[in-house]
């Protein structure tokens, strides 16, 4: 994926690209990250820490969109139930060829939190917001990673 700035977004689409609550997402995610580091011991497993970071990513997305969106409300419910966060990974292999857009809408409903209870129109609307939020979160994580590694190579002299 092309690297895009978290602060300025995409030059072509500066307004529609990044989610409006990106600063809130960044604050929330950062706080969670530092908390995870503090509570991680040398015996913590890599996988366990990775799961916590992943969960923090979806939490910061959900909290920043809050109650405003159906997808974030569904995601918050899932997070609060402490259930494992799982999304379908592969194309579902059905015997029926997926030609019509209604079948693809069913696939999409499984990928967007809260999808199953949305009508077609609502699904399209929620999907757009979900995508904007996801791309913002991805760029946020990328930026954090880049600054940690650049710091490690060029530590500032106090």
């Amino acid at each position: 994926m092309e690297s895009k700035s978290f602060t300025t977004g995409n030059r072509d689409n500066p307004n529609t690209d990044l989610h409006g609550s990106k600063n809130m997402m960044a604050s929330h995610f950062l706080r969670a990250l530092f908390r995870i580091q503090q509570t991680s011991t040398s015996s913590s497993s890599f996988a366990g820490r990775s799961r916590r970071i992943r969960r923090a990513a979806y939490a910061s997305m959900a909290y920043s969109a809050g109650a405003r969106r159906a997808w974030s409300r569904a995601l918050l419910r899932k997070l609060r139930s402490r259930a494992r966060l799982r999304f379908p990974r592969r194309l579902s292999r059905t015997a029926r060829p997926q030609r019509r857009d209604m079948d693809q809408a069913q696939v999409l409903r499984k990928l967007v939190p809260g999808g199953p209870s949305m009508d077609y129109c609502k699904l399209l609307e929620e999907t757009a917001d979900y995508i904007r939020c996801l791309t913002t979160q991805v760029r946020l994580m990328q930026t954090v990673m880049d600054s940690i590694s650049s710091y490690a190579h060029h530590p500032m002299i106090p």
């Binding site: 529609t16 890599f46 992943r54 857009d101 990928l111 129109c121 996801l134 990673m145």
Partner: protein, 85 residues
């Protein structure tokens, strides 16, 4: 059902689909012709799946970094890069 109502819904749906298309990476090509709804939804599903995978991958990499690096000393740098005006 009145035909007028279904016409308005069609326009609404066409607009929502167009909005979705503009969010997909391939759509950034200027002058891309409007894809069929089915193709667009398929691309949307693929894109969301790839974004989910990226979150997974970045979580792994951040976990790896946190094992060896101290976040606290990089804190100022991180905050600066995220909240630069």
């Amino acid at each position: 059902m009145s035909s007028r109502r279904s016409r308005i819904s069609e326009e609404e749906i066409a607009e929502l689909l167009s909005k979705l298309q503009s969010l997909l990476p391939e759509a950034r090509r200027r002058g891309a012709s409007r894809a069929s709804a089915a193709k667009l939804l398929k691309e949307t599903c693929n894109y969301i799946r790839s974004l989910h995978r990226e979150v997974d991958d970045l979580s792994d990499r951040l976990s790896e970094m946190m094992a060896t690096m101290d976040l606290d000393s990089a804190q100022a740098e991180i905050i600066r890069s995220l909240f630069r005006p």
